[in-house]
Each structure stands twice: as structure tokens, then as C-alpha cells.
């Protein structure tokens, strides 16, 4: 006769073997092989543990003492009802639904089944660890809390962050700092008040936290339903016709260089001066008089240049990056930017100048006779 503990492990062994067979048949290839080996390894581990448990009669009764495994505390029926069978059933139902509908349902159900199985196992074991209910509750805490607290904490934090992010993405850009300020102030003042009190009742603290959580969750759900505000994508390139012929977009984007990371990494700054002269100032040469008509760019790696429009009208910077073989000329440009503004352009040039049948250069459409040569050694 199998002992209670060994039944669990032998069941897990059978499940792992069945899983390995299904996985091998349905997946195939190197992934299938790896998965099958993994599941068979799991089966052998469970089998080994099951054997140990069986041999030791679950470790709590002498092996040679006949019949005691049926009278020991471990063999007693559960002391109370458990919600985990119900949760497991919901999870398995979700697996079936997810398999034929959406992958996300399937993945969430896998997590639900895993959680329910582990909790069920821990509960089943701890309730029969001894005849003492208090001791059983204690061992459950000792085993389960190190797992439960970090997971529940992470999930709670995730919900808070997600709900808060939905709110901030829904309200207007101007309102976000104010909301942040108000919520931060409420939390800081509340915390200050609580710490000032010598004693605070558990119910008060719980009530405040519940109200806060419900408010945040409610606002988060409402924001998610409403959807996020329109967030403008900052274009750095547009179609080649506009690059070569010039022209202004319907709405000028003056924030194309707001990426601090990009701005700190430019290989050269290109200035369209007020007299329409085009000059390059190369990163590393700090003398403002060091104006170059050539920039040297390493091949096959991303390099950034920053265009400064110091002229009196909206302008864009166009990069003509060569013509290779039968392909058409490679052209890219910034969007048009207003006077006094800047835009970043990222170049990736895989071949040298010599490989191009047309010059590689930077220019401003409509500004004649002003070019910066691009040298790709």
C-alpha cells in the first residue's frame, strides 16, 4: 500500500512521464528533445522521492511498524475545507479555454494551476504534519510565507505601478506633474501623521490602505478603459522627396532631439548659420572657430549628428548617403525644425565613399552651394 507522501510523488512521476510523451509528440526537433529530457528528468526525480517516501513510510513512522501509516497523523483526513481544488479547477478550465482562444489566457491559467497546486500541497501536508493544530499552522507559515510574501508583494507593487502608469498616460501631459505632486504630498503628509501617533489601531491602518488601494485601482481601471492620450512620435526622417526638394510638414516637430542619450553621443554638430552658411563642428575639437566642411564617419556603425537651425526660417538637414550599384540613392533627413531648434539624425553607412557613384554629403534643401562632405574611410 502506498503512503500519503509517496502517492503525491508517484502521481507527479506519472504526470511528468505523460507530459514528456505529449511534449515529444507535439513539439519535435531540438526543443522537443530538450523538453522531453527535462520532463523525464523531473519524472525520475519524483520517482526517486516517491520511493524514499514509500520506503520510510513518509518519514514519520517506523518502516517496520505494520499498519501505523494508516493511523499516523499524516494519514488523517483534511481538517477543513480548502479553496485550492476549486481554484485548480478554474485554472484547468482556463487552460482549455486559453488553448483555443488567447495565449495570454493560457499563460495566466498555467500560473493559476501552479499556484493552486503548490498551495494545495502545502496545505495538505501542513494540516497533517502533527496532531497539534497550532503546530501545523506554524509549519505552514514557515514553509509558505517565504514564497507567498515576495510573490504577493511583487504582484501588489505591480498592480500599483500599472494602475498609476495608466492614470499618468491618460491625463494630459500638463496635469501629470501636478497629480504626481498631489499624490506624493498626500502620502508624505499621511505617513508623517501616522508616525506622529504613539499608537494606531490596526483597523484604521487597514481602512486607510484599503481606501487608497481601491481609489488607485478604480482610477487605474477607469483610465485603462478610457485609453491613453495621443503621444506624438518624434520623427527624425521623412520621405526622400521631401528630403531632396524641401518643404515643411503640416506640423513642425521641434522636439526631435529631446533624447538626452542621443544628444550626448553626437559625432558632429551641423550648424545652418543665420547667413545660411553650413558648418560642421566636430566633437572633440572645442575651438568655436574650428568649422569643418568634412566629417569623417566610421562605416557599419550607428553615428549621430545634431542639426542646429540658426537661420531665420524652418529648415531640415538632408543626408545623401550614396548610390551603390543598381540601387537608388540612399537619402534621409530630419523633419523641418523652427529657427533656434535642434534635431538629431542617426546615420548607418555600410560602405565607403569609393563604393558610391554619387557624393556622400549633408545639405539643407533650398540652400544652394552649402554642403558638408561625409568621408567614410
Amino acid at each position: 500500500m502506498f503512503t500519503t507522501g509517496s502517492k503525491l510523488f508517484f502521481g507527479a512521476t506519472a504526470l511528468s512521464v505523460a507530459g514528456a510523451i505529449v511534449f515529444a509528440i507535439t513539439t519535435g526537433g531540438p526543443t522537443g528533445l530538450m523538453g522531453t529530457i527535462g520532463l523525464l528528468s523531473l519524472a525520475s526525480i519524483f520517482g526517486f522521492l516517491g520511493g524514499i517516501n514509500y520506503f520510510n513510510s513518509d518519514g514519520n513512522v517506523p518502516a517496520m511498524q505494520q499498519g501505523v501509516q494508516f493511523t499516523a497523523s499524516a494519514a488523517q483526513p483534511p481538517v477543513g475545507s480548502s479553496m485550492w481544488p476549486l481554484v485548480s479547477a478554474v485554472g484547468i478550465g482556463g487552460l482549455v479555454v486559453g488553448a483555443v482562444s488567447k495565449p495570454v489566457v493560457f499563460k495566466v491559467s498555467v500560473v493559476v494551476v501552479l499556484v493552486a497546486t503548490i498551495e494545495w500541497m502545502v496545505q495538505g501536508w501542513s494540516e497533517r504534519a502533527s496532531a497539534d493544530g497550532g503546530y501545523n499552522a506554524g509549519v505552514r507559515k514557515r514553509i509558505a510565507h517565504p514564497l507567498e510574501f515576495p510573490i504577493v508583494g511583487t504582484l501588489g507593487l505591480g498592480v500599483v505601478v500599472y494602475a498609476f502608469s495608466r492614470i499618468m498616460l491618460t491625463v494630459s501631459k500638463e496635469a501629470t506633474p501636478w497629480i504626481f505632486l498631489v499624490i506624493g504630498t498626500i502620502i508624505a503628509v499621511g505617513a508623517f501623521m501616522f508616525t506622529g501617533k504613539r499608537k494606531i489601531s490596526r483597523s484604521t491602518l487597514l481602512g486607510v490602505c484599503t481606501i487608497g488601494a481601491v481609489a488607485l485601482l478604480g482610477a487605474g481601471v477607469a483610465s485603462a478603459v478610457q485609453g491613453q492620450r495621443t503621444i506624438k512620435e518624434h520623427e527624425t526622417t521623412v520621405d526622400s522627396a521631401l528630403c531632396l526638394e524641401g518643404g515643411i510638414e503640416a506640423e513642425i516637430d521641434d522636439h526631435g532631439s529631446q533624447d538626452v542619450s542621443a544628444k550626448s553621443n553626437v559625432i558632429a554638430n551641423i550648424f545652418l548659420e543665420s547667413n545660411n552658411d553650413l558648418n560642421a563642428r566636430i566633437a572633440g575639437f572645442t575651438d568655436p572657430e574650428d568649422n569643418f566642411s568634412t566629417i569623417t564617419v566610421p562605416r557599419s556603425t550607428d553615428v549621430r549628428i545634431r542639426f542646429h537651425n540658426e537661420s531665420n526660417s524652418p529648415q531640415r538637414l538632408t543626408a545623401r548617403l550614396g548610390t551603390f550599384g543598381e540601387e537608388s540613392e540612399v537619402v534621409m533627413c530630419t523633419t523641418a525644425i523652427n529657427p533656434g531648434k535642434e534635431a538629431i539624425l542617426t546615420l548607418l553607412i555600410p560602405k565607403t565613399n569609393a563604393a558610391s557613384s554619387t557624393p556622400m554629403e549633408l545639405q539643407v534643401p533650398g540652400v544652394e552651394g552649402q554642403t558638408i562632405a561625409i568621408v567614410v574611410p
Partner: protein, 407 residues
Amino acid sequence: MEQSKKMVNRFVARRHLLLAVGVGVLSAGCAKNAPQDIFQPEGKNARLIDGIQRELFYISAVVGLIVFAAVGYAVWKFKDRGQEIPEQTHGNPKLEILLTILPAIILAVVAVPSVAAVFELDKKDNDCVINVTGQQWWWEYDYVQGSTCGGVEITKSIVTTSELVIPADTDVLLRITSRDVIHSYWIPRLNGKRDAVPGRLHTLRMQADQPGIYTGQCTEFCGLSHARMRQAAVALTTADFQTWVTNQTADYVAPAAGSLAAVGEGTFQAQCSKCHQINDLFTADGTPVLAAPDLYVVSGAAPNLSKLMTRTAIAGWTFDLISAECRDKLWNAAPEDFGALYLKGVTPECFDEATLRTWLRNSPAMKPMYADPAKLAATGGKTRGMPNLNLTEDQIDELVAYLTERK
């Protein structure tokens, strides 16, 4: 008694062994012939770092000695000799305040020169700017066309590999990036290290006091042959640097018609020019020979071989092109003699032909690279490093004859 004697002997033997290990470890730190020794700075940036670390070491040593002495005294004084356990007390505000303030003061004192050094190292008023690009497993340098470097005009783009040639006693700014994974550029005797990150441009200042060769090593694990990704900075006098620039920008010299080298030119075009560029090389019908490493190599680049024989090593500066004797002579040359010796390049008497031949015969056998055609599915057939071209011995003869003239 006998047992006790044995134990004493064993204890003494262990103490001697520990002492021998300690002496060995200490003496290992005293190596004189250590070209990558950070404690022998040869430029003002490295000297600044060295100064800071020495100051910190002395301060740390004093603090360490005080702590060890205090702990040792406490251990000796309060050793369990069977005496009664003294009264246990908790909290000593005066002592605790002292032990908080004292380290804070020490850290504040240490911070002053450290922060000043950080800003000093980050200065960007330079006399030369060079682009440095890392890839698996070598470094490429290109000099900014139209600029001056230590007063020498760079009229035409120069692209070279592994040996960074700079004018001595000149502030040189390196603009460092990478084409594939993260690398780290480090010439210990000239400055600290700087990461080369794809898509980013990091700057590092170099300055060498006097002419000479300063070796370095990639210090960020970057794959299979990371340990074989080496580099050197070669400092020359301004006059010698001018000579080097003039040579690097000189026109291509075709091999004499009918020579083995001329045959090698054709072999190079057929076998090597897919990835390696030799500037101003044309086919028989006048078409320029243009390398397209972006089609064959993951990083999109391969070393430019136009002036191969002006460099002293190949394959990420791992294998010498010159004999050990010539290398020792060059490395140990007096600063005033170094330039003339270096500018000779790889002379026939110094040329280590066997190394070049072995490399051409099967390069992945010399330096591990991801170049097995059967294992390149993940990269769309592109290699990381140079593949084995399965050249015949005749082709190797031809290529060696041709490449020997690239100086």
C-alpha cells in the same frame, strides 16, 4: 610527547609554506618587464590616475593598519583564559559619533583629489581627434580628414588597425564606439579604460610623454577570442608622425609586372578583397576593387591592408609580423631612436614570414573565430572573424609576396 612534536612540526611546515606563498605573491607584483603595468605611467592622464591610487593606497594602508592593530589587540587582550565574562554594555554615543565622523572626514579628504582628477581627465581641449571602433576581435582607427593631429595635417582619410599611431606629448582624443558587442579600450600606461558600446560614442584622452610603444588589451569580455583582442599605442615625434602620415596617405604602388607579387595582386582580388580593402586598387579593366565586408562579416568591417607592413602585428595585434629579436629591439629602443626604427616597418630581415603563412593557411586554427560555414545559420552566413579560405600553397606564396610590398 611524540604526538605533540609531530603537531608542532606540521604547524611550522604550514607556516613556512604560507610564508613562501606570501613572498611569491608579493614578488610577482615587482615584475619589471610588465608593459601593461598601471604603476608605470608614461603620460599625464595615467600619471594622474596613478597619483590618486597611490594616495588612496597610503591612506587605506594607515586605516587598515589601525583597524588590524585594534582588532589584534582586542583578540589578544580579551582572549578567553577562563576569566569571568565582563559586564556587557550597549551604546556609547561619543564613540559612535566619533566613528561616524572620522570615516566621513577621511572620505571627504579622499574625494577632493578624486573628483578633481575625474574632471581633469574629462577635459576635451585636444590637438588631435581619432575615431576608434572595436569589433570582434580587433580595433580600427580612422583619422579625421581635414583636421590636424599634433600640428600635422590629415589631408586624406587614414584607416589603420590595432596600432594607434599618435604624436608624442600631444593631447589626443579618442572617440570610441563598437560595431558589434561591448568592448573596452585600455592602454594602461597612458590612461584608464573606456567601454566601446554599439551606438554610443565614448571619449578617452591619450597622451604619451615620449616616443615608444604602449601595449593594451580589450578589457570587456567580448566573445570567443576576447583574450586575443590586443592593441598598442605607438607614439612618435611630430616629425616622425608627419612621415608616418605621409606614408599612410601615399598612393598605391602596384607590383612590378610579371613578378610573383603581381600574381599575388590577382589572388588578393579573387580571395581577399571581398572583405579586406587595399586603397586605390583596380582590376585589369580599371574597375575599383571595393571590399564589402558588410555582406560577409557580422561587424561589417575587416582590417584595411593598404599599409599592412607598416604594422608590427596582425590578427588583433596577437601575432607578430616581426621576429622576436626585432620586436625586443623595437620595444626597448631609446625614445630618440624609436621613431626611425618603427618607421622602417617590417623589413625583410625582421619579417616573420612563417607567422603570416600560418595565418593565411588556416586563420581560425591560430585564433578561434566563429567562421565555420556549417555553423553560421544564426548570422545569415556572416562570420565573426576570418574564415579558413583553404588557400593552396601557391596562392599563399603569391599573397605573401604581394602583401610584403604593402608598406
